[in-house]
Point group: C2
Chain length 361, copies 2
C-alpha cells in the first residue's frame, strides 16, 4: 500500500480576523476557538492517518518562522516555503512534486490549515473513503460538506447519483457533475432543495501522480515549471530554482485550474461539523459561553455584561453594561463590533490599507 | 493692595477615569475634554487674575514630574510636593504658609485642578467679588454653584439671606448658614426647591493669614506642625522637615476641619457652566459630538456606529455597528462601557485593587 501524506495549505493571508489576523499572523496561526492554533489542530486531527514525517506544510516567507515555532514536531524540510503566493494550484503542484519524490505512489490529503472540524472520527472515516477511491480510480477526490443552510459564502459541488455510473454510492461518494461558484441566496436555496449540491470544502485527496498528470493536461505551463524544478529538489540550488519558477508561474486556484476541467472527479459527502471559520461571528458560534453567555479569553473584567465575545490577548479589557459585542484587543489595536456585523471587519482592513496605515495590517 | 495668589490642588488620585486615570496620571493630568489637560486649563483660566509667579501647585511625589512637564511656565519652587496625601486641610495650610511667606497680606484663590468651567469671564467676575469680600471682611469665602438639578454627588452650602446681616446680596454673595454632606435624592430635591442651597464646588478665596488663623483655632495640631515647618522653608532642611510634619499630621478635609466650624464664612453664588467632571459620562456630556453623534479622539475607524465616545489614545480602535458606548483604550487596558453606567468604573478599579493587579492601577 502506498504511503499517505498530508499537505497543509498554510499560506493564506486572512483579513477577516483583524485585529488578531495580520500579515505575519494570519488566521491559521491563531488560537481562535478553544485551545491550540488552527494549523496545530488541523495536523493533530489527522495524526491517526498521517505520521508527522509525511506531513508537508506549504507556507510563505512571512509566516514560516512562526510555522516552524508552532510545529516543532514536523521535520523542517517538510515545511515548503513559497517565495510568493500564487493561489492553490502552484501550492498543490509543488507539494505533489515533493510527495512524488518521497513516494511515487504516494496519496496526498490536501487540507486548508484554517478550518474547524467538530466530529473528528467521522472526518477520518470520510478521508479513509476518499483515500480508497483515490487509490482505486486514480481520480481526483474532493470532500463535499452536507449543507445545513443556503450559504452564499461557499462554492458548491453538484454530484451525479445514477446507479449505473456510481459504484461508490454506498459510501456516500459520487461522481462530480459540476463545480458552482458562490451563489446568490436564491440560487443557494435552489441548490439546498435539489439535494445533489454539497459545499466545496477545499479539501482534496489524490495520488500525487494523478494530480501531476492533470496539471500536465490543464495547466501545462505550471507543469513545465514543476518539471524544471524537480532536479534541484534537495540540492543547494533549490531556493534559486524555486524563486525562478514562481517568478514565471501565474496564480490560479486548483478548483478553477484543474478540478472544473478534469474528468475523473469524485466527491465524498461529509457531515462532521465543518466550518471554515470565516468571521468573528463564526468563531463566536464555535465557542462555548459561560453562564452569562460571555466567551472570555485573557484578562477580562466584566460587570453587568452578557453574551459578549471578548479576547483580551495581551492587555486587560473591562466591560460595563454591554451586550452582544465582539471585543478583540491586541498590542496595538482594538475592535468593538456588534455581533452579526463582523463581515464588515474586511472593510476596516480595506480602509487601513487605503490609508496606508501599514503597521496595522 | 495685596497680591493675589492661586493655589491649585493637584494631588488627587482619581479612579473614576480608569483606564486613563492611573496613580501616576490622575484626572487632573489628562486631556479629557477639548484641548489641554485639566490642570493646564485650570491655570490658564485664572491667568487674567494671577501671574504665574504667584501660582502655587500642590501635588505629590508620584505626579510631580508630570506636573513640572505640563506646567513649564510655573517656577519650579512654586510646585509644592506633599510627601503623602493628607486630604485638603494640610494641603491648604501648607500653601497658606508659603503665600504668607511671599506676602503676609496675600489673598489666595484655592482651586481644585480637575474642574471644567465653560463661562470663564463670569467665573473671573465671581472670583473678583470673592477676593473683595475676603479682603474686606477677613472671612473665608467659598464659591457655591447655582444647582441645576438635585445632584446627590455633591455637598451643599446653605446661605442666609436676611437683609440685615447681608451687605453683599447685591453681588449675590451671602453669609453661610450650614454646610451639608452629599444628600439623598429626596433631600437634594428639597434643597433645590428651597432656593437657598448651592453646590459646594471646593473653591475658596481667603487671605492667607485668615485661613492660618482659623486653622490655629480649629486644627491646632496642624497649625503647630505648620509653624514648626516655617523656619525651614527655603532652606536645605525643608524636605526633611516637611516629611516629619506630614508624618505627624492627620488627614482631614478643609470643609470638615475648618469651614463647617468657622464663623465668618461667605459664599458667592456662581453660575458659569461648572462641572467637576466626575465620570466618563460627564466627560461625554461636556464634549462636542460629530454629525454621527460620536466623540472621537486618536486613531478611530468607525462603521455604522453612532453616539459613541471613543478615545483611542496610543492605539487604533475600530468600531462596527455599535451605539451609546464609551470606549477608552490605553497602552495596556481597554474599557468598553455602556453610556450611563460609568459610575461602575470605580468598581472595576476596586476589583483590580483587590486582585492586586497593581500594574493596572
Amino acid at each position: 500500500m502506498a504511503h499517505i501524506f498530508s499537505v497543509i495549505m498554510a499560506g493564506g493571508v486572512g483579513s477577516r480576523f483583524w485585529p488578531r489576523s495580520r500579515e505575519r499572523s494570519p488566521k491559521q496561526l491563531l488560537e481562535l476557538t478553544g485551545s491550540g492554533t488552527m494549523v496545530q489542530n488541523t495536523i493533530a486531527r489527522i495524526e491517526p492517518l498521517v505520521p508527522s514525517v509525511n506531513t508537508l506544510v506549504v507556507t510563505n516567507a512571512l509566516q514560516s518562522d512562526e510555522i516552524v515555532k508552532q510545529l516543532p514536531f514536523i521535520p523542517k524540510e517538510n515545511i515548503l516555503v513559497e517565495p510568493v503566493g500564487r493561489n492553490t494550484a502552484p501550492c498543490v503542484g509543488l507539494a505533489a512534486s515533493w510527495v512524488s519524490r518521497m513516494d511515487p505512489q504516494g496519496v496526498m490529503i490536501v487540507l486548508p490549515a484554517d478550518h474547524v472540524i467538530q466530529n473528528v472520527p467521522e472526518f477520518l472515516r470520510v478521508l479513509t473513503v476518499a483515500i480508497s477511491i483515490a487509490e482505486e480510480t486514480g481520480g481526483l477526490v474532493t470532500i463535499g460538506i452536507k449543507p445545513s443552510h443556503p450559504e452564499t459564502g461557499y462554492g458548491y459541488i453538484q454530484f451525479s447519483d445514477d446507479e449505473g455510473s456510481n459504484r461508490y454510492r454506498a459510501k456516500e461518494a459520487y461522481r462530480v457533475k459540476t463545480f458552482a461558484e458562490k451563489p446568490n441566496l436564491e440560487t443557494a436555496e435552489r441548490f439546498l432543495k435539489s439535494g445533489d449540491f454539497l459545499w466545496n470544502s477545499g479539501m482534496f485527496v489524490w495520488k500525487a501522480e494523478s494530480i501531476l498528470a492533470e496539471i500536465g493536461t490543464h495547466l501545462p505551463e505550471l507543469s513545465e515549471q514543476l518539471k524544471a524544478l524537480a532536479p534541484s529538489m534537495g540540492t543547494a540550488g533549490y531556493g534559486a530554482a524555486l524563486e525562478q519558477a514562481y517568478g514565471l508561474i501565474r496564480g490560479i486556484s486548483i478548483d478553477y485550474g484543474v478540478m472544473e476541467k478534469a474528468g475523473n472527479v469524485y466527491v465524498v459527502k461529509g457531515d462532521f461539523g465543518w466550518s471554515d471559520v470565516g468571521s468573528w461571528d463564526e468563531a463566536v458560534r464555535l465557542s462555548k459561553p459561560d453562564e452569562d453567555g460571555n466567551v472570555k479569553k485573557g484578562s477580562v473584567i466584566s460587570r453587568n455584561s452578557r453574551n459578549n465575545f471578548i479576547q483580551a490577548n495581551s492587555k486587560i479589557v473591562a466591560t460595563i453594561g454591554v451586550e452582544d459585542l465582539i471585543i478583540v484587543s491586541t498590542e496595538d489595536a482594538v475592535l468593538v463590533c456588534k455581533k452579526g456585523q463582523s463581515q464588515d471587519v474586511k472593510e476596516i482592513v480595506d480602509y487601513i490599507r487605503r490609508k496606508q496605515m501599514n503597521e496595522y495590517l
